[in-house]
């Protein structure tokens, strides 16, 4: 068995006539930070969403540690407890305060004690720099603050892996840094991270590997310094010219 904490084998998926994934293989090691880049429609978000089975693969396998996510017998809820996810549009629960957003899942999924869950919610809010926002509702927070609460909410489940689906794409420019700082902090702590994003600054600072996808396939993957400076493939080069 490989030693990757996430192992994706020949992942294939289509939406109607569109081939979203055409045979993707990707292993992510424990503690590794992998950035997935590529033009829109390249299948990068789909790939990410298949890891915690928000989307189902047509064929192929995805393993998270010793669990096969794609097996119909998989205990998907158990797997999702270990795989945190952060969405482009935050998806905070608007009827709950920041602290309640964070403590709800530990309370009802992990069945933690109320005190413990609340204490941890406060600690996590402090960690993402929002100690004073405990009682604020999502509508009262800026986009950057909402996304930081969303990260704290995912961390409350003590995940081993964090998935980020374009975490900064919906943010105003001045708010991107505060979110990236939190992510950088996580990366330094040794969190395994799979990030769909075009934040090249983050890639250079934190990524161990950058994976370039196009038309449902991985075109090439390398250390960010290597990939950005010397892309091997013409398609990669053209794409990088657009965004760098």
């Amino acid at each position: 068995m490989d030693n990757g904490i996430i192992r994706i084998k020949d992942a294939r998926k289509h939406f109607g006539a569109v081939q979203a994934l055409r045979g993707v293989d990707l292993d992510i090691a424990k503690g590794e930070v992998v950035l997935v880049i590529g033009p829109s429609g390249s299948g990068k978000s789909t790939l990410l969403r298949c890891v915690n089975r928000l989307e189902h693969l047509d064929s192929g396998e995805i393993w998270v540690e010793d669990d096969c996510v794609t097996s119909p017998h998989a205990n998907i809820r158990k797997i999702r407890e270990e795989v945190g996810m952060v969405f482009q549009s935050f998806n905070l629960f608007p009827h709950l305060s920041a602290a309640q957003n964070i403590s709800l899942s530990p309370l009802i999924v992990l069945r933690e004690e109320r005190e413990e869950a609340q204490e941890r919610a406060r600690a996590l809010l402090a960690r993402v720099g929002l100690a004073d926002k405990e009682h604020s509702y999502p509508e009262q927070l800026s986009g950057g603050q909402q996304q930081r609460v969303a990260i704290a909410r995912a961390l409350a489940m003590r995940p081993k892996i964090m998935l980020f689906d374009e975490p900064t794409s919906a943010l105003d420019p001045e708010m991107i840094k505060e979110v990236l700082d939190v992510m950088l902090d996580l990366a330094k702590d040794g969190m395994t991270m799979m990030v769909v994003s075009h934040e090249m600054g983050f890639a250079r600072a934190a990524a161990d590997r950058v994976v370039f996808m196009d038309e449902g396939q991985i075109i090439e993957a390398a250390h960010p310094d290597e990939l950005f400076a010397h892309p091997k493939e013409e398609r990669t080069r053209r794409f990088l010219d657009h965004i760098l």
Partner: protein
């Protein structure tokens, strides 16, 4: 959250006070069933609502003063039917909400048989006039069910309005962005947990105005139960009229009382809708 359900309501020729969803996927509550919901911009003293509401109140006060003979008697007798009217209305709305939640959940269920049962229920019930349903349960099924008038009335109204409520619940649940369910699932919640903790609490806010509107429609439709030996407002008026032959006066008072009640509640629903909408806008 400013996405409100659009339930394009059509008043069916039957007395069912019907709500029919317009194009699926468009979410805007369009509260126009039965009564006009006063628009809040309409602040003029001469607004239609003010004219109707205060006009009705003035009429109900002035008529007995001008002509005490039948009106004082009518006003002494007829309002005793209010208890039955409200009793049937409130009991029906409670049961209709429960049935509606079940039907709404059934309509979005992924399990085929459940989905089919819920859809057939909604289709069948919405296709039969409430008056026919009342007759059916009281007379046709009477020998089987052995229900008294009020029980039959509540049962028929609950089953009928449950179908309409079901569509409101369905549309309300579907108006919650998909990301909410995804976020809940990604956190390890079960679908049931996500539904009760995340989706339904948000749905309640969206569906309160159309449900308030169903309540008004139900209040009016409750007059149909006067045919089932339920001593409601309309029946009291009829009883009085048939013994004294004061038909015009009796039914004028009955009509005025219904009008005052429905206008009052429609204003309440209008205020509630505005509040919820303003609150919703702050969400974005």
């Amino acid at each position: 959250m400013s996405d409100f359900l659009k339930l394009g309501k059509r008043k069916a020729p039957s007395a069912s006070g019907s709500a029919a969803p317009s194009a699926p996927g468009s979410f805007n509550i369009n509260v126009t069933d039965g009564t006009l919901i006063p628009s809040t911009g309409d602040r003029s003293i001469l607004s239609a609502w003010n004219i109707s509401f205060f006009g009705a109140i003035v009429a109900i006060v002035i008529l007995p003063v001008l002509s005490p003979k039948p009106y004082i008697d009518i006003l002494a007798v007829v309002p005793s039917g209010l208890a039955a009217t409200f009793g049937v209305t409130l009991a029906s709305i409670v049961f209709a909400l429960m049935l509606g939640l079940l039907a709404g959940l059934g309509r979005i269920a992924k399990t085929k048989p459940i989905n089919l049962i819920a859809t057939v229920y909604v289709e069948v019930i919405r296709g039969i006039p409430l008056l026919v349903q009342l007759f059916y349960i009281y007379y046709a099924l009477g020998p089987l069910l052995h229900l008294k008038g009020p029980a039959s009335a509540i049962m028929a109204m609950s089953i009928c309005y449950g179908a309409y409520m079901g569509e409101i619940f369905r549309a309300g649940i579907q108006s919650i962005p998909k990301g909410q369910m995804e976020a809940a699932l990604a956190l390890g919640m079960s679908r049931t947990q996500a539904l009760w903790r995340i989706i339904l609490p948000q749905t309640v806010k969206v569906i309160l105005p159309p449900i308030g509107n169903e309540f008004i429609a139900l209040l009016k439709d409750s007059s149909l139960v006067s045919i089932l030996a339920v001593a409601d407002l309309l029946r009291r008026g009829r009883e009085y009229a048939s013994t004294t032959f004061n038909y015009l006066q009796s039914f004028t008072i009955v009509a005025l009382i219904y009008l005052i009640m429905t206008l009052f509640f429609s204003r309440l629903v209008g205020i509630m809708e505005t509040r919820l909408r303003n609150h919703g806008q702050r969400h974005n």
